[in-house]
């Protein structure tokens, strides 16, 4: 790669800087902490505190309506959760929804990002707004909209698509596992594809035009330019988009809550946590499920960052 593609920070970094930290760097670091410090403290208050509280509660057998019988239970709640088949089934459902939605969203989101990037200057703001609208819709509202669309009484899907094999006027979408998951995935994809495409658009904008031109001069086809120039140059942006969306998708709740309420084996891990904590009022057991969900999310994030070497602070198109 030529030096012209290097980002400004790389360019300005003095190559001959001594390895030891200079006074100026130290002062800058201190200033950085002072600037970020208050936000850091607030983050600790609103995230670390509830997480620690959940870890603590998860060690107790504790029912909200019966605080007198709260008792220390050690890791008993975790044993109950991890030995229950419904936990593993929920993990399976959650993983399936995550993989399917993220994969489809990545392809669709990429296509939409290309459209947005290549659109005429005058059309671009309108197009961008139109593509972003689903992301602005509240998830519960979008879930209701999709449920109404597919509902056997209120929906239009059955009558519009009755000509397709497998769809009839009497198709009950929320009556079976497969069709329920399909509608849930569709709703999720519709809703969050704009998010991925927005992140990818930022990555696309960073692919240096000179590289494209050079490839064109060398006679590369559109497809070759896409695979050999565009995609490798925005790998970091793709990974960041994937990471954010995967973490988000793994916590899927709203659509399932509205559409099936967990019927037909469509419960996700978040839904299981809700059921134990809010419906059963078993704070201990519910906290254990939540902590395990948190651990799963941490593992995903860690896996992405270490496994794919995603640098969150440098989501740009250089390598």
């Amino acid at each position: 790669m030529t030096t012209t593609t290097l980002p400004p920070t790389e360019k300005t970094r003095p190559k001959s800087a001594p390895p030891s930290v200079s006074d100026r760097a130290r002062a800058e670091r201190r200033l950085g902490w002072m600037l970020a410090g208050p936000a850091f403290v607030i983050m600790l208050l609103v995230t670390a505190y509830p997480i620690l509280q959940a870890v603590y509660e998860s060690l107790f057998s504790y029912r909200l309506t019966d605080p007198a019988n709260r008792a220390f239970n050690g890791l008993g709640n975790y044993v109950v959760v991890l030995t229950d088949p419904i936990w593993w089934q929920s993990i399976g459902v959650t993983l399936l929804i995550t993989v399917v939605t993220v994969a489809v969203e990545l392809v669709l989101g990429f296509a939409l990002a290309m459209v947005m990037a290549k659109a005429l200057q005058s059309l671009r703001p309108i197009l961008r707004a139109a593509i972003l609208i689903p992301y602005a819709v509240i998830t519960v509202v979008s879930a209701f909209a999709w449920q109404f669309a597919f509902d056997i009484n209120t929906g239009f899907v059955n009558s519009w698509f009755a000509w397709l094999p497998g769809i009839a006027e009497t198709t009950d979408w929320f009556g079976g596992w497969g069709t329920s998951i399909l509608v849930i995935c569709l709703a999720e994809i519709w809703k969050t594809t704009p998010f991925i495409s927005l992140l990818l658009l930022a990555g696309l904008a960073q692919v240096p035009e000179v590289l494209q031109e050079a490839a064109k001069v060398d006679g590369a086809s559109w497809w070759q330019r896409l695979w050999r120039v565009t995609v490798p140059n925005m790998k970091a942006a793709i990974m960041v988009a994937l990471l954010f969306r995967t973490l988000d998708a793994f916590r899927v709740f709203d659509s399932i809550f509205i559409m099936t309420a967990g019927a037909n084996g469509t419960e996700s891990v978040s839904f299981l946590a809700y059921r134990q904590t809010i419906a059963r009022l078993e704070i201990g057991l519910g906290s254990a499920v939540s902590v395990l969900l948190f651990v799963a999310v941490v593992i995903i994030a860690f896996g992405f960052i270490k496994g794919f070497r995603v640098d969150l602070s440098q989501a740009r198109g250089d390598k």
């Binding site: 057998s61 909200l64 309506t65 019966d66 605080p67 109950v80 959760v81 229950d84 419904i86 936990w87 056997i152 009484n153 009497t170 198709t171 009950d172 929320f174 009556g175 099936t260 309420a261 967990g262 019927a263 037909n264 299981l272 059921r275 134990q276 809010i278 419906a279 059963r280 009022l281 078993e282 057991l285 499920v289």
Partner: protein, 447 residues
Amino acid sequence: MPDGATGARRGRTVTTRSAEHRRGRLAGASAAALLASTLAACGGDTGASSQLTWYINPDSGGQAEIASRCTEAAGGAYTIEVAQLPRESNAQREQLIRRLAAEDDSIDLMSLDPPYIPEFAEAGFLAPVPEDVAQRVTEGVVESAVQGSTWDDELVAVPFWANTQLLWYKKSVVEQAGLDMEQPVTWEQMVQVAEDQGTTIAAQGIRAEALTVWLNALVESAGGSIITETAENPEDIQLGLTEDPAVRAAEVMNAVAPVGGPAFSTAGEDANVTDFEEGDAAFMVNWPFVWPRALSAVEAGTLDASVPEDYGWTLYPRVDEGEPSAPPYGGINIGVGAFSRNVEAAYEAAECIVSEENQSYYFTTNGNPASKAAVYDDPEVLEIFPMAPAIRESLELAAPRPQTVYYSEVSGALQRVYHPASAVVPGETGAEAADLILAVLRGEQLL
């Protein structure tokens, strides 16, 4: 306790004014105090109004109207403000119980779904009902509503309105099938007619509270109970799910599912009405709200007038020919929050809310049947609800859902195992459900 001291019960403007005066001359202050006490005396014996908040389930505006009527009737003794809870009864419970666990003193009155009342009572979230109030509010009230407000042999809530399901049918279809609806009808007969006539039975096959309602009615109609013996210790609870009545109930579910329509496993009460109105179903077990709903749809021009004319109704179908059915019991009872700062006023308000006059108003305008038997003789009620006598008879037969502190767990486990109804295996599903319920209650399994 600002409302405890008489001094703080003065109107806000008066207090401010007296404070200003205090800074000035003493004479002015005492004059203001005199004025304040005079004003307070106008508000009745209890001083200026105590503000009560009534958490209501969503309805067609009836409870809000009753609240304002009672506020007016109280002449300033108290004012009732309504706050709306979520649509689903389990969501209502979730919200109320979490607030009460945090000792929320803003909850004065609550519209409670009967199956959750034991849980509230056992947790100490309901203020004890004064004896004289208990006596007055149970007088002339149908048995099932009193039972639904009772826990541990004590009245813990005030019976408000009592709901029950009827069997609704299309007169034209049963006539064609030659089914005599004057006689008690069994589920098997209905299935037979539905098969012969190529129609469906609308029942609640959805995985929701409605499924428990249906299952419970079937088990009770067959002469059994889901919980045969309740106990404080969850491990000592005895279940009747492996006994013959539960097997009979499973058989009925299994028989109804194939004629329950294409979306039986997701059909709730609202979907049932739609099917029944549109003519897809010839039978429907449902609450009486279906009647005013049909009438108002005719009025709005969205439903043909001939549809409700074809509606017939009778008692809930039997499981066994020789045994009377035990229809579902529902409705709303009024609980007074244990942490309320105005328990006395709240009970006064509760008595006003459940007055005969308000119950018949609520019945005729919102379609929610009264718990006081006398309301069913009201000519206005009879004119709008020709099925009122059937509702009253049904309420006398109605069986409550399992009364236990752990109702939410029991119902959740039943919904998980008995859904979809087409997959229910008589003799096996019951044992499976019993195992799950007990494991969940012991804290050994997730739900």
